[in-house]
């Protein structure tokens, strides 16, 4: 066997490098999360003393209890979930529908539609004109500004179209002979067959909307009823960033029961928004790996 040849020193050095690199990567990736988890489970005023690494010193679930019972946080979680679910479901369905239409090689408007969508990846109106447009459309101070503008994104459209192009055309032909309408062909044949690629773009969409805070900040920041979890976290972060230590101390003294500190709030919120994603993504790996190579290499 070729493998049986004796290992040279460079071979051994390479192995040492490979495994130490990967172990360092694991530590650097996970430590910030584990440290934040430990702080979120530690008594707030005790955390200020520092020295908490991977394990809480004075264990408490108080931080979670007070945040999860806070009506503002609770409401923001509802808005986050609503926008994520709505855009993922409708966006994925609509993207698939348009992708089917522009995958039809005989369709006269196919090139035109593809072009006007792809161009949006490179040319954008910019902050101010977009803001004025949304204002005109009544989308400022409005929940639907989270859903409508991002329903069909060019990048996702191209990924799905590439996938549908790969499906056998005879399926559509025989359905047509059976008298099926275009919409029926899409709904009954194309949609079920495209499940893997739709799962991919659903993941991308869901992660994007769960993480979004920028549109909240720009269009809806005056209305607390439309805030999302990420925006609440962003506000805590921004105030921590601009405040001096004594101000933080004063704030934490006035905070409820004087037990929850800004640092504890930040850590706990971080864990609350991270856990749903961290629990789900490992099981969806084959979908996003597949989608990424489909969109990146074949395009």
């Amino acid at each position: 066997m070729l493998r049986a040849k004796k290992r040279g020193w460079d071979d051994i050095l390479l192995d040492i490098f490979v495994y130490s690199f990967l172990i360092a990567l694991i530590i650097v990736t996970l430590y910030p999360f584990l440290n934040t988890l430990a702080i979120s489970l530690n008594e707030g005023r005790d955390s200020i003393k520092g020295g908490i690494y991977l394990w809480p010193r004075e264990f408490t679930t108080f931080n979670y209890e007070s945040l999860l019972t806070d009506p503002q946080i609770f409401h923001a979680a509802g808005v986050s979930i609503a926008r994520t679910v709505l855009t993922t479901v409708f966006g994925t369905f609509l993207t698939a529908m348009l992708a089917y239409v522009i995958s039809r090689k005989d369709f006269v408007l196919r090139k035109f539609i593809t072009f006007i969508y792809v161009l949006t990846m490179y040319v954008q109106g910019g902050l101010i004109p977009t803001y004025f447009l949304y204002q005109r459309l009544g989308l400022t101070n409005n929940f639907w500004v989270y859903v409508l503008p991002g329903l069909v994104a060019a990048f996702n459209l191209i990924i799905v179209r590439t996938y549908i192009n790969g499906l056998p055309e005879s399926l559509i032909e025989s359905a047509k002979i059976d008298g099926a309408s275009e919409f029926t062909i899409f709904l009954k044949i194309i949609l079920p067959l495209s499940k893997p690629v739709l799962a991919t773009i659903a993941i991308f969409t869901a992660v994007y909307h769960w993480s979004a805070w920028w549109d909240v900040f720009l269009y809806n920041s005056s209305n607390p009823a439309l805030s999302t979890l990420q925006y609440e976290l962003m506000k805590v972060l921004a105030s921590a960033n601009s405040m001096s230590g004594s101000m933080q101390q004063a704030l934490s003294n006035s905070a409820q029961a004087a037990q929850i500190t800004p640092r504890a709030i930040r850590a706990t919120m971080t864990i609350i928004v991270t856990v749903p994603i961290a629990v789900v993504y490992p099981f969806l790996q084959r979908y996003f790996v597949h989608g990424l190579t489909l969109g990146g290499v074949k395009e």
Binding site: L2, D10, L14, V18, F21, L22, L25, I26, V28, T29, L30, Y31, P32, F33, N35, T36, S47, K49, G50, G51, M97, V101, D106, F107, V108, L109, I116, Y122, V123, Q124, G125, G126, L127, I128, P129, T130, F132, L133, L151, V152, F183, F186, S211, W213, L218, Q230, L233, M234, L237, S242, T270, V273, T274, Y281, P282, Q285, V289, L292, T293, G296
Partner: protein, 307 residues
């Protein structure tokens, strides 16, 4: 039946079902993506929202002159390009390195677990990311200061986030932290598609593992690297606005203010709408020039092109 003789309108009528299905999408994209382009005209006006669009003062290229002579213009341009380049190059370097390293792992289970962990930062928002970075660099119990103190390298904690010259590198490092695992996916996919017979032949010729990486794997990655470079060169003016916005603070503004932050400050905060729109147009124009130049260079080098 004269199939090919149909005029455009006859074809359109025959395909009315498809037209009907796509019409809402055409209207949708025009409203949400193309109507704002019309707003570009604001750059040639002294726009004031109180007046109607046609009742504005037209000022020609005055806003462009103001932009190019603004005292912080070159600082903003420098910060935008410098941070994007640092992020682009370091991000690619570490993603390629990670893909090469993962490819050398012989224990499938360890490889799988490491990959899964490496994807995690990609899935969190920059709000969470910035939060974690600031925690790690904080002066009260941040891990970086604690390690440096315990090793005796420093005597008192350093306020990393307050040092202007350090800001670019904090942005670069946190970018690598967040993107390295996900970025490696594409390179790893290309490595997997390299024909095994190439490696077998190299082994017979007595090539070491390092030599196989140097002479087979790296050259095979060249096309992907070039495509990704072209795509990202077009994004140099737009890269990672949220990250920089969230990490920056008043003490480091000279090194953190990029175009989109500049537009936000002048546009929404100072209400100089026309001026901010001009800055946005400038950014788009530079992006277009960059992506076409990169495309052209790739063409001259005989590589695959994007457009």
């Amino acid at each position: 039946m004269k199939k090919s003789g149909d005029t455009f309108w006859q074809k359109l009528w025959k395909q009315k079902a498809l037209v009907l299905m796509s019409l809402p999408f055409i209207i949708y994209v025009i409203i949400f993506k193309y109507v704002p382009l019309w707003g570009w005209l604001m750059a040639f006006q002294n726009y004031w929202p109180g007046n109607s669009f046609f009742n504005q003062t037209w000022v020609g290229l005055e806003n462009f002159r103001l932009l190019l002579t603004d005292p912080v213009f070159f600082e903003v341009l420098r910060n935008t390009l410098a941070m994007s380049l640092i992020k682009l190059l370091s991000g690619m370097f570490f993603s390629i390195l990670l893909a090469l390293v993962l490819n050398e792992v012989r224990f499938a289970k360890f490889k799988k677990i490491t990959q899964t962990i490496s994807y995690l930062p990609h899935f969190i928002s920059w709000v969470v990311g910035a939060n974690l970075v600031m925690n790690a660099l904080s002066t009260d119990g941040g891990i970086v200061n604690d390690v440096l103190l315990n090793l005796g390298i420093i005597d008192s904690p350093i306020m990393f986030m307050g040092i202007p010259k350090l800001f670019w590198w904090i942005v670069g490092a946190s970018h690598v932290w967040k993107t390295v695992g996900f970025g490696a996916i594409l390179y790893l996919a290309s490595i997997v598609s390299i024909s095994p017979s190439l490696y077998e032949a190299a082994v017979i010729d007595g090539a070491s593992r390092l030599q196989r990486i140097r002479y087979i794997t790296l050259p095979a990655l060249k096309p992907v690297i070039i495509i990704l470079l072209i795509i990202n060169v077009g994004r140099l003016m737009n890269m990672g606005f949220q990250q920089i916005y969230l990490l920056s603070n008043g003490r480091v503004i000279e090194y953190s203010r990029i175009f989109r932050i500049f537009e936000l400050d002048y546009g929404l905060k100072m209400m100089r709408y026309s001026f901010a729109t001009t800055a946005g147009i400038f950014r788009s124009l530079v992006s277009i020039v960059l992506v076409f130049s990169a495309n052209q260079i790739a063409k001259m080098m005989g590589e695959e092109r994007l457009i």
